[in-house]
Amino acid sequence: MNRFVKLVNFELSRFMKVYLVLIAMTVIVQVAGVIVKANGYMADANKAMYEDMLSQEQFLEKYGQMAFIDVARSLWFMGPITICVAALIFYVFIIWYRDWLGKNTFIYRLLMLPTARLNIYVSKMITIFLMVLGLVSVQLIFLPLENNVLKWMVPTDFRSDMTVSQIINWKYLSMLVPQTFSEFVLYYGAGFMALTVVSTAILFERSFKWKGIIAGIIYIAITVLIFIWPALLVFIMGRDFLYPLEIVGLETAMGIIVTAMSIWVGNYLLNKKITV
């Protein structure tokens, strides 16, 4: 196993306990959400039919059938996803600062490993990226299960069945689970780019301390400007200035440039400017 793979493996193992807790929390809360929402719906149905004396048709006409999307729109479903996203965003900072801050001086060891320092940078990026993909995969694996739980709890007449692909087509989930390969490349590419930009900004701070905070903010501003330049062009010159496909092409090119630049600058800082 080469040192880069070992580094990725090591970085993954450092967050694994928290990561498994996040996965368990997501699954438990979402399944609980399905149960609670389904019970709530059926309780409403029973009350309407046995206390308010509505017929099944009248109830369905008034309240509609229950679909998985009702669960997906709830805090039970989106809450854990939001917590996972927040935790991973937070971990983008922690993955760097944990090696420096407090009594931890592990950065000495990392920087003295007999491997290119670029590997340290890229391994941390890949670790976060794999964790995102892992959480999305877990969500995809458990969606059919959660869908089936709903089917077990709500009788056929009261529910409107959805396939997994219909569920992930919903606007928020479609961001996490893109429908096409090109969407995957665009969404996750943009995420990876943001990851490299923030990491490089952190390395500015680690290299130049308080001056580095300013440098990091300026760096982020520059990369944002580069990335949104095609959109700015359209905004200034008018909608007809570029075809949509041209905008996508230019944005992709800008994204690649920003990512490559961030990795290059990050590598330069790690090799020439970093201080322990």
Binding site: R3, T105, Y108, P114, I274
Partner: protein, 229 residues
């Protein structure tokens, strides 16, 4: 040979190192001596490319430091540089995973020498035992040069004696050692060469034995002359 040439380093506007030059030979123990804040740790950090310099050059066997240098030279700082949540065994495994120069046989020998238990977590170790783990992880690498920063800082006398014993053993034999300290008494008899720093420059560089033979002075005598004129 490790060559430090005209090393300059500023922290903000303050010049800490104003052109430090010295060499450290393989098979010799070179001690960089100076009062607190004189830049001893900065020199070692710079040799390992852990802090950027404002000027000067460092060569290890004639080459600038690169990723391969870390198989040739290792740094043992005064604080533990492994994850505190690791056990000693995990720390050793980490080193074995990443360093071709890791010598498991020597690591086991050091473990017994320092009376450390593999299953113990670094977090739970005393300061003295953490220093021993640091030494173990550094000494178990088959490297040509060892850099040690204040190895006796804040540890008890028995641990000091044990660490000092390492210097006279085969564990250090034939290696080049650069050690920084201001507590010279424990290892004075082991030092081959002394480099005295003051006000950002090398004020005296001498071979201990020569100094003793020609001028009849110990390192402490020379330190008194330099730091308490």
């Amino acid at each position: 040979m490790i060559e430090v040439k005209d090393m300059k380093k500023k922290f903000g506007r303050k010049s800490v190192l104003k052109g430090v030059s010295f060499t450290a030979e393989k098979g010799e123990i070179t001690c960089v001596i100076g009062i607190n804040g004189v830049g001893k740790t900065t020199i070692l950090n710079a040799v390992m490319n852990l802090t950027p310099l404002n000027g000067g050059q460092i060569l290890i066997d004639g080459e600038k430091i690169n990723k391969h240098s870390y198989e040739k030279v290792t740094f043992i700082p005064d604080a533990i540089i492994m994850q505190p949540s690791m056990t000693i065994r995990e720390a050793m495994q980490f080193m074995a995973d990443f360093y071709d120069s890791w010598n498991q046989k020597r690591a086991t020998e050091l473990l017994a020498f320092f009376k450390l238990k593999e299953h113990e977590k670094i977090n739970n170790l005393s300061k003295g035992n953490r220093a021993k783990v640091n030494l173990l992880l550094g000494l178990a690498l088959d490297v040509d040069y060892l850099l040690m920063d204040e190895p006796f800082s804040g540890i008890d006398i028995f641990t000091r004696e044990q660490i000092a014993e390492v210097f006279t053993s085969h564990l250090v034999e034939d290696r080049g050692v650069i050690i920084t300290t201001h507590e010279i008494s424990d290892i004075e008899h082991l030092i081959d060469k002394s480099v005295l720093l003051d006000d950002g420059v090398v004020v005296k560089e001498f071979h201990t034995e020569d100094m003793r033979e020609t001028e009849g002075k110990s390192i402490v005598d020379v330190m008194r002359e330099v730091y308490q004129p």
